[in-house]
Symmetry: C2
Subunit: 193 residues, 2 copies
């Protein structure tokens, strides 16, 4: 399947351009130029511009979904689960920072079917996140601040990791995980007096 290699190169290249300018502002001629070929040649490998976007976003969304399911089904307390979620986001960000830009900013340009599929995954993901926090509050592992504020505070940071982490490659991945866990979680864990 050598065809898959070239296809992957196109998708990788597209993800970079989509990150810089957004899906709608990137033309097939832009993408072709970045690959060193003509726009028409792209169609030997992909079926449409839309297919490229879907391939980028759906693959990543499924990674988050399966990652979250593993965490939900583990025998951990709420705080440990949140630590695993932080690690999940850092790992996915390190493996595909470019694609995450599309997932965050261009998901609304997915066509009907993939859009519905994506939106369901996103809603489910957020609800599982919310449930973990609720469970933690119920068991007094977590302060009883407004649930939405806690969830979206953490989620906002994790979702935009891709924006700034690549710039700061002096930060080791393990330090990132450790400090991120402290910064994101200590604010919601009850103080010991």
């Amino acid at each position: 399947m050598k065809i898959e290699n070239r296809r992957d190169e196109i998708i990788k290249s597209a993800a970079i351009l989509f990150k810089e300018r957004g899906y709608s502002a990137v033309t097939m001629r832009d993408l072709a130029k970045a690959m060193g070929i003509k726009a028409a040649s792209l169609y030997n490998h992909i079926q449409s511009k839309q297919e490229i976007l879907a391939s980028i976003i759906i693959k990543l969304a499924e990674k988050f979904t399966t990652g979250m399911d593993t965490i939900v089904n583990s025998n951990k307390n709420a705080i440990e689960k949140l630590e695993r979620i932080i690690e999940l986001h850092i790992d996915v960000t390190l493996s595909n920072a470019d694609g995450l830009a599309s997932l965050n900013n261009d998901w609304m340009h997915l066509e009907e079917k993939n859009l519905q599929y994506f939106e369901k995954m996103r809603v489910d993901y957020e609800e599982k996140f919310r449930s973990i926090v609720r469970e933690g509050v119920a068991k007094k592992e977590i302060n009883s601040y407004n649930i939405e504020i806690m969830v979206f505070s953490m989620l906002s940071t994790l979702r935009t990791l891709y924006l700034w982490y690549p710039k700061k490659d002096e930060i080791d991945a393990e330090i990132l995980k450790r400090d991120m866990i402290s910064v994101l979680l200590k604010g919601i864990i009850p103080n010991k007096h």
Copy 2:
């Protein structure tokens, strides 16, 4: 200047569409339809699509810049300054949630001159934010985690407030401020044993 009223309506309408689909995916005909007029009629009030984008973004960026300057020049310690920054973001979000989408996602579509102006404001804003955190660490008001991680963790949450706050209008603005300050800051403030 009645012309300004209609112009403001167009910009307000554009901000909503830009938030939903992004600058590049919104056509002048889309915007006109939302206003109940024809595309050509828009040009009686604005000079170009680009001007609309610049008007949305620059105005907000300047609000953040002047807000930050006031905080920097105040006689407060680092934690109090961070609290003021959180309030600044919440206030701006409440007053113009739609425009913040453009500021966050479509700034790269600004033309040369406004792009440079915006980027300078953004870099300066981040540097002032960073300085406050650094000052707090030096005076032991703040834990010495990695500075970048603390800054961007807070900034990511504050910058994406516009995405979810409008959906949760059951949250009172004062509760939002209080809980947001707790969630964002307790994680970086040293524990008392």
